[in-house]
Amino acid sequence: MRREPRHWSGVVLVILLLVAWEAVARLELVRALFFPPATAIFAALWSLTASLDLVREYAATLWRAAAGFSLAACLGIATGVVMGFYRPAFSLLEPLIEMLRPIPTVALIPVAILLLGIDNAMKIFVIAWACFFPVWINTLEAVRAVDKELMDTARTFRFSDPAILAKIVLPFASPGIFTGLRISVAFALILAVISEMIAGETGIGRFIIESEMAFRIPQMYAGVFSLAIVGYGLNRIFLLAEQRILRWHYASARAEIVS
């Protein structure tokens, strides 16, 4: 794949904005309390990381996110494969899932609080709910996109259904499945944070809200920025894992021919 060259003008813009931020903050053009200098925020970020405070909060958040994500992944892939492969399963489950899908996950947070309290169970439920649908639909569509002819060929060779699933369907559907999983990773993180902001005692979401209420503003900003970094990092890691596992899929050479 062609690498995009570094966009220097873009980098310069970002640097200029940071400098402007610093200037505006130090000159107190905006209320100092709300607008700490960028350097103060980076300092806070640094010290929070060094003191392991941030690490502790993220541990709580990420383990919940991972738990919810794993639950949703298993359920979503299983349902997606079964529904994509067996028409009767599709007819049976599709109306139920489609009725549940339009409900925004955040709207279920109060329901989850009522039924499961304000701690991990509620959060993991909410995260799993949000992550289920992208995984499910991407799996479903990926399985359905598998060449009918390919499966018919396998059947003429007397492959059993489980064997077809394992040897043909899953490999072919795996890029699509991974796309669904990757989308869900982002959802897992954000739903974890939102549920922590609304209720609970631990986690980065809680940390950000508490910092704000205690007017530890640079810490609050630091927390918010760290989310961007962690989110980006998770996405990159996932992409790398995806490319490793799906190496065969990405091995497409692009030939540019001048004619």
Partner: protein, 257 residues
């Protein structure tokens, strides 16, 4: 491909009946999961008394402006960034840095500057809706076939007319997709802001119902929200298929070989 969803609909009805039975018999505490019929009844009551419509109106009062700002800015900047490499290079780094930041995470920050009221919520909704629209538009414009642009050039159309007559129509499927996806996102963020710092709106209604242990009200609100979200999406899809009927499926009917 139409296929029978009968078994699925039966399943839903059966599940609802089971919930009803479990609740009425007391096996599941009524204050956690009221009977389905009670929820429906409460839903009608809240609708008739105007409580639900008012709540939705309050939410939409913020949703609409936020979404519209995001759409105008997103499509505008998307077209500029997609068609002018210089502008793309200038803004892309910034956009790529801002993108991984989950929109809900900026709620505390914006609360500092804009308080807890409508302004904050509109800003957050606009921020969240902006990125998918920008990215889809940019992608749509950038992935335009070179041959199409060559056609514009060989007929000597100027830059502005090329944009209007070639680029925007060609990118419109992707732009439409971005606009459609952002509606769901806008709704989600709208509800989230109400959960975190709300005084009115459907999200606030649901949360208040939970806090006051009015379970039936809470469920009624959630279900209505789901219906509204579905209708919103349906409306966009229908609009899309009308305007973009030319794009629907590239199945070629051979008229004359």
């Amino acid at each position: 491909m139409r296929h029978s969803r009968l078994s699925g609909i039966v399943l839903v009805i059966v599940l609802l009946a089971i919930c009803e039975a479990l609740s009425r018999s007391g096996i599941v505490a009524k204050n956690y999961v009221p009977p389905v019929t009670v929820i429906l009844q409460r839903g009608f009551e809240l609708f008739a008394s105007g409580v639900l419509p008012t709540a939705f109106l309050d939410t939409f009062k913020r949703l609409a402006p936020g979404y519209v700002y995001a759409a105008l800015l997103g499509v505008g900047l998307g077209i500029l960034m997609g068609s002018i490499p210089r502008i793309y290079r200038l803004f892309n780094t910034l956009i790529e840095l801002l993108r991984p930041l989950p929109s809900a995470a900026i709620i505390p920050v914006i609360m500092l500057f804009l308080g807890l009221g409508d302004q904050m919520k509109i800003f957050v909704i606009a921020w969240a809706s902006f990125f998918p629209i920008l990215l889809s538009t940019m992608h749509g414009v950038r992935s335009i076939e070179a041959t199409l642009i060559d056609t514009a050039r060989t007929f000597r159309f100027g830059g502005a007319r090329t944009l209007l007559m070639f680029v925007i129509p060609a990118a419109s499927p992707q732009i439409a997709t971005g606009l459609r996806l952002s509606v769901s996102l806008a709704l989600i963020l709208g509800v989230t802001t109400e959960l975190v710092a709300g005084e009115n709106g459907i999200g606030f209604l649901i949360l208040q119902a939970q806090r006051s242990f009015r379970a039936a009200d809470m469920y009624a609100g959630v279900v209505t929200l789901g219906i509204v979200g579905y209708l919103l999406n349906w409306a966009f899809v229908t609009l899309e298929s009308q305007i973009l009927s030319w794009h629907r499926g590239m199945t070629i009917r051979e008229i004359v070989p």
